[in-house]
């Protein structure tokens, strides 16, 4: 019972705290700020598990190594799930934009209508710039070069595709 209570209670408390803080002032780098809050909560729970057998308010923290790790895994997983979803709120998905545009227009949309929703600059060039910023691509004059970091990162996605036997890339 303690695993479940702590595993769901800590992320819920962070969520409520985040809603209050964001309503007062939203941080400039909000995904980073949220990640920091979640890591801090995880560290605080680890500290409580290590050094307290009971808390002054009468609440008992997870007991023993195994139970503590279980609770930390649950907090970590729920927090990461929330972080991924939160980061997704910020992004524009071309598929969603196309379907929403089709739904809004009564008679449907053409391929040209869908293409007019996007620009190369916003959807391709901006991502290339992002990959350069995080070191997965390198610019030398006009030319783009793949870095080792980029190759390793791409490799992680290529392997499951090979296992599934997928040949055509999506995107």
């Amino acid at each position: 019972m303690r695993v479940l209570l702590w595993g769901l209670g800590v992320p819920t408390a962070i969520l409520l705290l985040q809603i209050c803080l964001w309503r007062v002032r939203r941080p400039a780098s909000d995904v980073r700020a949220l990640a920091f809050m979640l890591v801090a909560a995880l560290a605080a729970l680890g500290f409580v598990c290590l050094f307290f057998s009971s808390l002054p308010c009468g609440v008992t923290p997870p007991q023993g190594l195994f139970e503590s790790l279980y609770a930390l895994a649950l907090v970590g997983s729920v927090s990461l799930l929330y972080l991924i979803t939160y980061a997704g709120l910020e992004a524009k998905s071309p598929s969603t934009l196309i379907v929403v545009a089709a739904e809004k227009s009564g008679s449907g949309i053409t391929r040209q209508d869908a293409e007019s929703l996007f620009t190369d600059e916003e959807f391709i060039v901006e991502r290339v710039n992002g990959l350069v910023r995080i070191g997965q691509l390198r610019r030398e004059g006009e030319n783009l070069h793949m870095t080792m970091h980029g190759r390793l990162f791409l490799g992680a996605f290529v392997l499951p595709r090979q296992i599934m036997g997928l040949r055509h890339w999506g995107g």
Binding site: M1, R2, V3, L4, G7, L8, I19, W22, G64, F66, E67, Y70, S77, L80, I84, Y86, G88, L89, E90, A91, K92, P94, S95, T96, V99, A102, E103, S107, G108, I109, T110, R111, A114, E115, F118, D120, F123, I124, V125, R127, V128, L131, L137, N143, L144, M146, G150, R151, F153, L154, F157, P160, R161, I163, M164, G165, L166, W169, G170, G171
Partner: protein, 181 residues
Amino acid sequence: MSNAQLGIHLGVLVTALLCTGIAQLLSVRLSGGRVGVVASLFLGFMVGVAILGLGEGFAVFRAGGALADNLALGLANFVLFVCLWYFYFHFINIGEASLRIRVLREAARFSGRPLADLLAVYNVRTVVGTRMERLVQDGQLVIVGEDRFAAGKPRMVLVAKAFSFLRWLLLGQTATSDPKS
């Protein structure tokens, strides 16, 4: 709660996760691509939930200790399973649908060449073409006339509405606010 009890529940969770991954990968491979990636992920999820349910049913009555503790741990395992499946879903789906990964893959093919070469083969026209083909296959879009597409299954529209609600709840943005790209 004893370590033996926790060990049994952990074993059930790990088994369910392994079976999820194996079922997902094999369903695409063995069907020769007839089962789509997203469908295979949901298939894997159902296999995993079935194994988790059976395993937890066994663990609740066989692991010993208080029934309430075992039920709570079973529920914690279910939450953990859903979270880990969600990460797996995103990992596999990113490999299939992410613009960033596709751009990286094209950059690997065109390494040492200018951006214009990459844009000649991968641009918004190819993105829209690929996406619309996938949306039609998945039933999210339906062809209603010559080169006209209307909304089909409501899943993606519902997801978009759920995200709008979350944006309002968490960020205080209205539907007309422009999210960052």
